[in-house]
């Protein structure tokens, strides 16, 4: 289910979400698994001052040769974008997207303060998801937060999406390589996270 090797060098991945959704843990797990497989990676978590509910984007560059890639992608150069939140996916798609990009998005919005207070409108969700599909060469919509709530905690949405990302066959990573890192990094929550990971794989038909 994983690709054998990079289809492009560097292969550029963005994980976009909102502070508190587990962006940083997710990008760390991916980076760690890739280094174990012998790749050079840079992982930059762009979160500024946000503890909770600010926009967060992790930029991951994966390379076979170069150990000195810069931390940020440049305009229009994403190969894969994962959105823990639909508007955050769109935000990153608008800056880093291109006609070949692949996207995986969680369907559950997290409303910005401006929307909560009624000053600005959150885009119509169905239209937003449609637009994401239109602007992607291939796209998956995952009800990750709903599935995570079924597992008892919305925080599992990130690992469900990680499962979906593995299942999308866009990275040179398989379930086993992530399992190894999960065991190492989250020994206490390992079992539940494996359930979440498998759920994500299942949701993209793997």
């Amino acid at each position: 289910m994983s690709i054998k090797d990079l289809t492009k060098d560097p292969l550029n991945l963005i994980i976009a979400g909102v502070g508190g959704q587990g962006n940083v843990s997710m990008s760390f797990l991916i980076g760690k698994a890739l280094v174990k497989k012998g790749y050079f990676v840079t992982v930059f978590d762009n979160y500024g001052a946000s503890q909770r509910l600010g926009a967060v984007a992790s930029h991951i560059k994966i390379s076979k040769e170069a150990s000195n890639n810069s931390p940020l992608l440049h305009e229009g150069d994403a190969d894969i974008i994962v959105g823990l939140e639909p508007v955050e996916l769109l935000r990153n798609l608008s800056r880093f997207g291109n006609p070949d990009v692949m996207t995986i998005t969680n369907s559950r919005p997290v409303y910005p303060i401006g929307v909560i207070s009624g000053e600005v409108e959150y885009p119509d969700l169905n239209r937003a998801l449609e637009t994401i599909g239109m602007l992607s060469a291939k796209s998956w919509v995952i009800h990750a937060t709903e599935e995570a709530l079924k597992l008892g905690d919305p925080i599992f949405a990130n690992v469900i999406l990680l499962g979906a990302l593995l299942g999308s066959c866009t990275l040179p990573l398989d379930k086993n390589s992530v399992e190894e890192v999960l065991k190492e990094q989250l020994p206490k929550a390992f079992k539940m996270n494996m359930v979440a990971l498998s759920k994500g794989l299942e949701l993209v038909g793997q």
Binding site: V35, V41, V43, Q51, H74, R108, P112, S117, G118, P123
Partner: protein, 651 residues
């Protein structure tokens, strides 16, 4: 998150720039580490402290940068290698000690790590700290990758020891917060022994080497420093971290340092200009390795400087070019001064591509802009996307504190205001605090400036002033301002929003928590007892009791002897609480019969003004709604609804 103490030489690990700096310090054999938390530097101590005991190192979160650096200097004078790390602003705080330490020199290797924040993503400003190194004659090292963060920190200790002076390693947010592959080296096993030797100078046998002034006339110490610095210049010429990559003759020579080297190299590759453009990377930017730079200046008629933030290397090279012999060919210098490189904010791959393309007179189209239809579509989309402004977290006690402060100031009716301070409390200047904070500068600045306002009564000033400080900020820099205010009888209230954590930077402990950096318990210092000992009136409130907190503030404002006193608003940071217990205290819901939406007349007080991310305005139902995935279950919002439509249910 990574294990920086792993004894696995020659293996590749994924380390954060800051973790790599910490690893470099371990490989250099440090025995002492100090820091005050500050983004983007916090993970250096964050990764050293938990392993300090195991590695036989002393590590502490200090109450501020000044004492952190002074303590590290103490270790250095007593034969122990020491590291002290901080954000750029911290170097301002230590500068008085630092300038004097430069006069005497040090003992064992002493490395000052400073992490700047170009763009000011997590700071009150975007200062470039490098000019301080130039001002004080401190060797300045700028790593470019996570690998170099480790290797250069290690080298900085050798350099510092050899020169007998402190060395500065300067990182920036995009380096400190990027994870990258790091190939590890061995960890030293040598035993360390501390001893402070009385070292006397031959010329001044009655004065210890580690003292400033007196019989050591300052000008003589300056002379010594300049001699030492000349040695540093020679040493830095041959640094393994300076190098050139590119053709022998180039159309353009890029001179760059730090993270900007990665942007430059990648941009040249993306623009396919490897045959025409060379990149000169400087690992040591002060003292400028002049001979090394001169050797490469002849490669091109055109130089482009790429660095963050100030034109620091650019100006040093200008000085060098000005001193070239008269017959020399002088290259054209492009950079921040010429406007070819943005002179403010952080650099990025996009910006560097633009700068190079413009200086080379070529066009560049990205994968996105190559498709006109696609780029037009995404431009339309980006315009309708709602921004995410900073806010207090769901359940944050500061939302309650600012709610009470706002109520009290409005009820008082004399147009009172808040002087703010650094940390999470600063968000009281934006909507979650209902725009209460009117001034905001530096650590401890809130109480200091309030002390000034509070003396203006003789000029007709009647507005009540409330200085706000977080608990960690209080220990860092608010105490002198409070004492000064009490002593000089200034009229202001100090509200200490005590959430029992240094929350903004990642929940580091401080004296009020009683926990030390290593996780062991230490002396718990009571903010309340400390303030009471100063003889000021001290009131303690739970900010979630909005009524009582408001009433307390109001009564202090109406005090007969003027507006004076300390209000200690105590409640644990919600993120700390939730980390210990993920269970919500309350299950919240809206009673749809009681919430009458726009008809209420409250003008959506709950969602529009209170603005907790867990409490949203449901446009379709035209009523408030709890978002269960976001709500922390703190129960506070139940107290602000005039219709009692927000229900909290015990879980």
């Amino acid at each position: 998150m990574a294990n920086i103490e792993i004894d696995a030489p020659e293996t590749n690990q994924l380390l954060l720039g800051n973790e790599a700096i910490a690893r470099g310090a371990l490989e250099a054999g440090i025995g002492f580490a100090t820091a005050y938390p500050g983004t983007p530097s916090s993970e250096i101590m964050g990764s050293l402290a938990p392993i300090a005991k195991k590695m036989g190192i002393y590590a502490e979160w200090s109450v501020n940068e000044m004492v952190a650096f002074e303590a590290a200097a103490g270790a250095s004078l007593a034969n122990i290698r020491a590291i002290s790390s901080m954000k750029g602003n911290g170097v301002n705080v230590i500068s008085d000690f630092l300038i004097n330490l430069q006069m005497t020199g040090i003992g064992k290797g002493l490395v000052l790590v400073v992490c700047d924040d170009p763009g000011g993503m997590a700071s009150s400003n975007e200062q470039d700290t490098r000019p301080i190194a130039k001002w004080l004659n401190i060797p300045l090292l700028e790593p470019s990758t996570a690998q170099e963060c480790k290797d250069m920190t290690k080298w900085a200790f050798d350099l510092s020891e050899e020169l007998g002076m402190v060395c500065m390693v300067r990182s920036v947010i995009f380096l400190s917060h990027t994870r990258g592959n790091v190939r590890l080296d061995k960890l030293p096993k040598k035993k360390k022994e501390a001893y402070f030797a009385d070292i006397y100078d031959v010329d001044n046998p009655r004065q210890s080497k580690f003292t400033c002034g007196m019989q050591f006339h300052p000008y003589k110490q300056s002379e010594e420093l300049l001699k030492k610095f000349a040695k540093a210049s020679a040493k830095c010429e041959s640094s393994p971290f300076n190098w050139y990559a590119g053709p022998d003759k180039t159309e353009l020579l890029i001179i760059t340092s730090g993270i900007c080297w990665t942007y430059s190299t990648e941009a040249v590759k993306i623009l396919n200009l490897q045959d025409k453009v060379g990149v000169l990377k400087l690992g040591v930017t002060w003292p400028l390795p002049e001979e090394f730079v001169k050797k490469h200046l002849v490669k091109s008629q055109k130089i482009l400087f790429v660095e963050e933030i100030a034109p620091f290397v650019e100006r040093s090279v200008m000085e060098l070019v000005a001193n070239l012999p008269p017959e020399s060919i002088r290259p054209a210098l492009h950079g921040k001064r010429s406007g070819d490189v943005r002179a403010w904010g952080e650099q990025s791959l996009d910006l560097v591509i633009q700068s190079i393309a413009s200086v080379m007179g070529i066009a560049y189209n990205s994968r996105q802009s190559r498709s006109i239809e696609y780029s037009q579509k995404v431009r339309e989309i980006s315009e309708i996307l709602p921004h995410r402004t900073l806010t207090f977290c769901p359940g944050c006690p500061h939302r309650a504190s600012f709610w009470a402060i706002k109520n009290a100031l409005q009820l008082d009716g004399r147009n009172g205001f808040v002087t703010g301070d650094i940390g999470c409390t600063a968000m009281g200047m934006i909507s979650p605090g209902s725009f209460q904070v009117r001034t905001y500068y530096a650590m401890g600045g809130g109480v200091g400036i309030a002390g000034g306002f509070g003396h203006l009564g003789q000029f007709g000033f009647t507005q009540p002033v409330i200085a706000v400080s977080g608990d960690s900020t209080f220990f860092h820099a608010s105490i002198p301002g409070l004492i000064n205010g009490i002593w000089n009888q200034s009229n202001f209230i100090l509200a200490i929003l005590d959430n029992d954590a240094t929350a903004m930077t990642g929940f580091q402990p401080h004296p009020g928590t009683g926990v030390k950096a290593t996780g062991e318990s230490g002396e718990k210092i009571s903010i309340e007892a400390l303030c009471r000992s100063l003889g000021v009136s001290v009131e303690v409130c739970d900010p979630f009791n909005i009524k009582m907190t408001t009433a307390t503030l109001l009564s202090l404002m109406a005090g007969a002897g003027g507006t004076k006193g300390v209000v200690l608003m105590q409640r644990e940071c919600e993120l700390v609480r939730a980390h210990k217990d993920r269970k919500k205290p309350y299950q919240m819901y809206i009673d749809p019969n009681r919430c009458i939406g726009e008809a209420c007349g409250c003008n959506r007080l709950c969602t529009r003004i209170f603005s907790c991310p867990g409490l949203v305005w449901d446009r379709e139902a035209a009523k408030a709604r709890i978002d269960d995935a976001v709500c922390a279950g703190c129960g506070l919002c139940a107290d602000i609804c005039t219709q009692e439509a927000i229900i909290r249910e015990e879980v």
